[in-house]
């Protein structure tokens, strides 16, 4: 079924309307041609992502709107070196995913809450509160990788689609300046979409992917689990974890699932933690 959709999309993408009446050999040849074109054409990946009726371009417009709203609630930490560092780590990890060519953006935002957010199209933010829990680059890579996994699997887009908010009617067009009214209609109120709970299994999946993406990038596979352990030490009634614990399974549960999934598969992996160049955030 999946293959059928793919082929259909390829055909649609390249206007192979000549299928009608053509003999099967010719049809097959056209498919091959289309496949060939897709391989050498990065734009075609966008069309392939169009399974849910949202193109990659539209996905980015939606994500950008959410990111702009989120930044309206909590601006960036004003530390350029920190922001650049987070983008370096994040991009390196994102390259290891199935969507290396998205215009990935990462940022640390002003909030003492412990949380991280992903918006479609590759906009990822972590709070100052969470960043301060981290001790090395591998743990940062793990946290960003969890969010990258949400983007790669389009978890939030699926929520939008399930709640039938995505009914575009027309095409979303990117705007250089200001918010996008049409995109705002799609995402509901403000940045509420990032405060929604995903399916528990989507979180567990993102945890498993986080460990693998960080490993692929050359980092220590266990640093992400250490972050979860660290967060698990924060009292559950502490305000800083209220939203995180409301929208995610509890750390103990996540660690249990991760332990089972990781098992002894990483025994021979020698990843790096990279403590020396880890950027320490200014005390406030």
């Amino acid at each position: 079924m999946k293959i059928t959709i793919r082929w259909f999309l390829m055909l649609a993408a390249f206007g192979c309307s000549s299928v009608q009446g053509a003999d099967f050999g010719q049809f097959e040849q056209e498919l091959k041609d289309a496949q060939q074109k897709i391989k050498g054409n990065p734009g075609a990946a966008a069309i392939l992502a169009n399974v849910m009726g949202i193109s990659q371009e539209e996905e980015i417009v939606i994500g950008r709107q959410i990111a702009g709203n989120l930044l309206g609630a909590a601006p960036l930490v004003k530390d350029n070196r920190l922001q650049k560092y987070v983008n370096n780590v994040g991009r390196w990890v994102a390259i290891q995913s199935e969507r290396p060519d998205l215009p990935w953006h990462f940022g640390v935002i002003e909030s003492d809450d412990i949380n991280a957010f992903a918006a479609p199209g590759g906009y990822i933010f972590i709070t100052r509160g969470l960043y301060k829990q981290l001790t090395n680059e591998a743990s940062l890579a793990g946290v960003l990788a969890h969010e990258i996994a949400h983007v790669v699997r389009q978890h939030h887009l699926k929520i939008l689609q399930q709640s039938k908010l995505v009914d575009l009617g027309g095409k979303l067009v990117a705007q250089e300046v200001g918010g996008n009214d049409q995109a705002q209609k799609v995402i509901g109120s403000g940045a509420e979409i990032v405060a929604r709970s995903l399916d528990k299994n989507a979180e567990f999946e993102a945890d498993r992917m986080a460990v693998v993406l960080a490993t692929r990038a050359g980092y220590d596979p266990y640093s992400f689990a250490e972050v979860l352990q660290q967060i698990g030490h924060v009292a559950p009634d502490d305000g800083s974890v209220a939203l995180l614990f409301k929208t995610h399974p509890l750390p103990a549960d996540r660690l249990d699932k991760l332990d089972k999934a990781m098992s002894n598969r990483f025994d021979n992996v020698r990843g790096r933690t990279v403590e020396q160049r880890f950027y320490r955030i200014n005390k406030k």
Binding site: G72, A74, N87, D112, T127, A225, R270
Partner: protein, 209 residues
């Protein structure tokens, strides 16, 4: 050279003995500089400070399930003893996914994910844990949570207004794939091939409790 090694060992033992190793270290370094060891003190400082996390990382923990203590940090190493859920341990060292622990049942290596470290701490207090120790954050005193704590609640997110300026600023920090490659190289990070993990139910052959 001999003298240098002696100095090094002296530092090492002093650090092990004293929790106030920072000040002791500074004092001894000052003495060394006086004694004409300028060239070597930099190297000593760097190497000793980098050793510090490993030395300081001694913390208590609890087994969260029955887990084997092994002679070495490998899953096929000899089993020395088995911890029961709830057994307490002292964590001596971390290596990859393993912790070296001391317990009433013996000392050896236990899987990191079988041990819960320390107790519950409030974020507004000192969220230390082994990570805090490793980063040298312990001992900075209690941070009193009063003003300035900025949350990010569901309501805040719902009411959020688009901030074009901040978004443009955020986008200005984007890293290109080429930059990322260079960054990885600087950190001696090399790409590993690794497949995504199946969900635990499949991973354990369906032996779900």
């Amino acid at each position: 050279m001999r003298r240098l090694i002696d100095c090094y060992l002296e530092f090492y033992t002093e650090m092990l003995r004293s929790r106030r190793c920072q000040s002791a270290l500074k004092k001894r370094l000052a003495q060394l500089v006086k004694a004409g060891w300028k060239g070597w003190t930099g190297i000593l400082t760097v190497s000793l400070l980098s050793m510090q996390p490993a030395l300081a990382a001694q913390q208590s923990g609890t087994a969260i399930k029955a887990s084997e203590i092994r002679t070495e940090p490998f899953s096929d190493a000899k089993v020395l003893a088995t911890l029961a859920a709830g057994d307490s341990v002292t964590i001596l060292k971390k290596q990859g996914g393993w912790l070296r622990v001391k317990s009433a049942k013996g000392s050896g290596w236990v899987r990191m994910l079988s041990i819960s470290k320390g107790g519950t701490r409030s974020q507004s207090g000192n969220a230390g844990g082994i990570l805090g120790l490793a980063s040298g954050r312990v001992g900075t005193g209690k941070v009193v949570a009063t003003t300035g704590i900025r949350g990010l609640s569901e309501e805040d997110l719902k009411a959020a207004q688009f901030n074009a300026q901040e978004l443009q600023l955020a986008e200005s920090f984007a890293t290109t794939p080429t930059e990322a490659q260079k960054f990885a190289k600087q950190g001696q990070l090399t790409v590993q091939r690794f497949d995504y993990l199946p969900a635990p139910a499949a991973a354990t052959g369906g032996q779900r409790p």
